[in-house]
């Protein structure tokens, strides 16, 4: 219990990294998010409920807590000891966009949560109670944004395809199709498809005092609005370049690893492989939807590929590392 509590505290602090670094939760942080400030109605009640109409930092804490819980359950289901989970939170924070999602007052986080929670049902030997809690989280994500239904649809189609044993072919087909699509229509690198969420939407968008975001903050969290004016984002010195580099390198490693493990060697880690395939499949399905419907924020799901990758890395190297570590 003590270690779980410790993990939650660490999880909350680490996953709120960019909010703390910015000195205020990030607002409208996606570069490509040129959409008008139109939060769906269910996110506003969520904001009010979790902030206790007291502080906007509480919203970030609740988001971080939800994400920490989901990640914790994932790692536990892959038999990673509780004490070691904390180490996996570091690469997740600094090499994927999860901390950015948690640190932002935006519903993009709930798309990732929906994907992670549906993916959990692919795993075997998981507790019934956890599954029920995950069902509740899925319900919450649907309430906050009904478009999350797309993840449930991808989950069922994935389950069907995996039974037919065509999933690898379909994923290869999707990758090829999207590479061709991007090459023809956008002239960008093929890696755009998989890395787009890592590379592009992390730049901070400057918010001005006459924007709707600020007016909302000023009306509901008046006493904290001064902190917003002192934030890096508002003062335009939020530099996340170091984050871009880390994410680019990690995305490249994850992608190469996926190619090697899944398509060339076909290893026997079924839970890990099926999860990787599911996250990859969902990302590939969602990208065209984004392009057609212009829901740019859906880019923010492919960081989930990092979760099975970390599990793999942990099981492969942790014991060797500890054995080889000789300290005077």
């Amino acid at each position: 219990m003590k270690s779980i509590l410790k993990l939650f505290v660490f999880g909350i602090v680490l996953l709120s990294f960019y909010a703390l670094y910015n000195k205020f939760p990030l607002i409208g942080n996606f570069r490509e998010l040129s959409y008008q400030f139109s939060w769906p109605n269910f996110y506003l009640p969520f904001l009010r409920l979790t902030s206790f109409s007291f502080s906007i930092w509480l919203v970030v804490s609740v988001q971080a807590m939800l994400m920490s819980y989901v990640l914790y359950q994932y790692f536990i289901s892959f038999k990673i000891p509780e004490n070691s989970i904390i180490y996996l939170f570091f690469p997740l924070t600094f090499c994927s966009s999860v901390a950015l999602l948690v640190s932002a007052i935006d519903l993009a986080l709930f798309h990732s949560l929906a994907l992670l929670c549906t993916g959990y049902f692919l795993l075997e030997n998981t507790s019934r109670l956890t599954k029920r809690i995950f069902m509740l989280i899925i319900f919450l994500t649907l309430l906050i944004d009904p478009i999350n239904l797309v993840f449930i649809a991808t989950f069922f189609t994935f389950k069907y395809l995996i039974k037919l044993k065509y999933i690898r072919h379909i994923i290869l087909l999707l990758i090829s199709a999207e590479i061709v699509f991007f090459m023809i229509f956008l002239g960008l690198l093929p890696t755009y498809i998989l890395f787009s969420n890592y590379l592009f939407p992390v730049d901070a968008q400057q918010i001005t005092t006459d924007s709707r975001e600020f007016l909302y903050l000023f009306t509901n969290f008046n006493w904290e609005s001064r902190q917003f004016l002192l934030s890096r984002q508002y003062q335009n010195w939020l530099n996340l370049n170091f984050f871009h580099y880390a994410i680019f390198i990690s995305a490249l490693i994850v992608f190469l690893h996926l190619l090697k493990e899944i398509f060339f060697f076909k290893t026997k880690h079924t839970g890990y492989i099926s999860l990787s395939l599911y996250f990859l499949y969902s990302t590939l399905i969602i990208v065209p939807i984004i392009l057609v419907l212009k829901f740019d924020r859906y880019y923010q799901v492919s960081w989930t590929l990092m979760v099975p990758f970390l599990v793999y890395i942990y099981h492969k190297y942790s014991s060797k590392w500890i054995k080889n570590l000789k300290i005077d």
Partner: protein
């Protein structure tokens, strides 16, 4: 001390080399770095010997004593030499000096330590102070080391408002956390640790009184910290608490500040139109003290102050990058021109003055290695292979980071430079653990290099 004069000379050479590496940023900049307003005040006070209401006078006296009106370059040189001396004690009697040079180069190039050393600010002494505390608490030192370190503690405590609080806070928390660990392990070392803590605490208290005495003798009040209530009041404005409080109380209480309640700027301390300048608040902070007292004694606001203090501490813990390079302020230009006119040209042609000093790469490394070190330190705390001494040092560093973040952010505000001045300490346990390995690798590398170089020369000769 080493009896062989050769060893002594080598050691001195390495300390000097360490100091040069530590101030590479000043050399690269072409002049010591300056901080807009603050460096100017320190330089002015140095030559006018004036006790300003917002900061202690000791750093100004240090500037006067070291620069001697000859050159401001002597200040980063002195800072670098002092830090190099203190850091060399971590490696004293344990290993050869190349590990020391490697560590100091790493800290200087990748952890922003050179920035702290290279600018005309007392920030570097917070790190020096904590290094001295670590050495005095956890290392077996000779009498002449102590003779050097205790005066250093006194000096470092007196140069900045926050340093005495950081020292006392860290000692208090260490007593709370470390002694129970010793007791749990049934170690008797806690008695010696306790004695050392009391000794250091007495030194810090002596330094506080000494500072107050110096201020009194130079025409100020008998106070060690300057402008504490004004800084806290300014931070309560930033937290959004003063706005609410004045909205509620200005109807029945008659604070003179009520006139300005709708126009309190975020930059309360340094804004030209701030009420602090209109009401001469630096010299007469009585009303600010009264408002702070009223806020803290009202449960509704106490809760808010407590809540924001936790958030501010967390924010400060993560904000430690080097961001305060923004040209040279008028006050600095004037002070340099007035007191050492021949250095006005080097100042104006420095990279910083011409906005050509881009060290964003340093921040990437700084952030990366900081969190890598945090991860490493967490792992050594749970490792059985690491000695208790190293574990205690690691815990002490974690505590000092938290205390520093808490004191600076709550009493002054979240500014990256407050945490940056001591963030580099986080990597010390790594160097202490792996110093022998570093030594071996460096030696092998050097041998490999020399052998290849010899082979190359031989080949060259044969070709001729």
């Amino acid at each position: 001390m080493d009896k062989k004069p050769q060893n002594r000379l080598t050691k001195l050479l390495f300390i000097f080399l360490g100091a040069v590496v530590l101030m590479w940023l000043a050399i690269y900049n072409g002049y010591p770095l300056v901080f807009n307003h603050d460096s100017g005040v320190y330089l002015e006070n140095a030559f006018d010997v004036y006790v300003s209401p917002d900061r202690p006078v000791m750093y100004s006296l240090f500037i006067k004593l070291v620069s001697r009106g000859y050159s401001f370059w002597l200040i980063p040189i002195a800072q670098a030499l002092l830090l190099s001396c203190v850091l060399s004690l971590f490696f004293e009697g344990r290993t050869k000096s190349s590990a020391f040079i490697f560590s100091i180069s790493f800290l200087s190039l990748f952890m922003g330590l050179s920035f702290e050393v290279s600018w005309l600010m007392p920030d570097v002494f917070a790190g020096v102070l904590l290094c001295c505390l670590i050495l005095l608490l956890f290392f077996k030192l000779r009498w002449y080391h102590k003779l050097f370190l205790y005066p250093m503690v006194i000096f470092c405590t007196t140069v900045h408002n926050s340093n005495s609080y950081i020292a006392i806070g860290t000692l208090f928390l260490s007593a709370l956390f470390l002694i129970p660990i010793y007791l749990k392990n049934r170690s008797t070392s806690y008695i010696s640790l306790w004695k050392r803590m009391v000794g250091i605490l007495a030194t810090v208290i002596f330094a506080i009184f000494l500072n107050a005495g110096i201020h009194k003798s130079l025409g100020g009040n008998f106070e060690s910290s300057r402008g504490g209530s004004v800084f806290l009041f300014s931070n309560l404005i930033e937290m959004g608490i003063v706005d609410e409080f004045l909205d509620q109380r200005c109807t029945d209480h008659k604070y003179s500040l009520c006139v300005y309640k709708d126009s309190l700027p975020n930059n309360f301390l340094w804004d030209g139109n701030s009420p602090i300048n209109k009401t001469d608040g630096w010299k007469h902070p009585e009303e600010y003290q009264l408002i702070i007292k009223d806020i803290l004694l009202t449960p509704e606001y106490t809760l808010k102050v407590g809540y924001q203090s936790v958030i501010y501490t967390l924010k400060q813990l993560i904000n430690f990058d080097v961001v305060d390079i923004a040209g040279v302020g008028e006050r600095v230009k004037k002070a340099v021109f007035m007191h050492i006119p021949r250095e006005h040209y080097p100042l104006m042609t420095s990279r910083e003055a011409q906005h050509r000093l881009d060290i964003s790469w340093l921040n990437y490394f700084n952030i990366f290695f900081f969190f890598a070190a945090v991860l490493f330190n967490i792992s050594i705390l749970s490792s059985k292979a690491v000695s208790q001494q190293i574990k205690m040092i690691t815990v002490f560093i974690f505590l000092s980071l938290i205390v520093n973040a808490s004191i600076c952010s709550v009493f002054s505000g979240v500014h990256p430079r407050y945490q940056g001045r001591i963030a580099w300490l986080i990597i010390l346990p790594f160097f202490l653990i792996f110093q022998n390995q570093i030594q071996t690798i460096l030696t092998k590398f050097c041998h490999y290099g020399i052998n290849n170089f010899n082979a190359l020369i031989k080949r060259g000769k044969n070709n001729f």
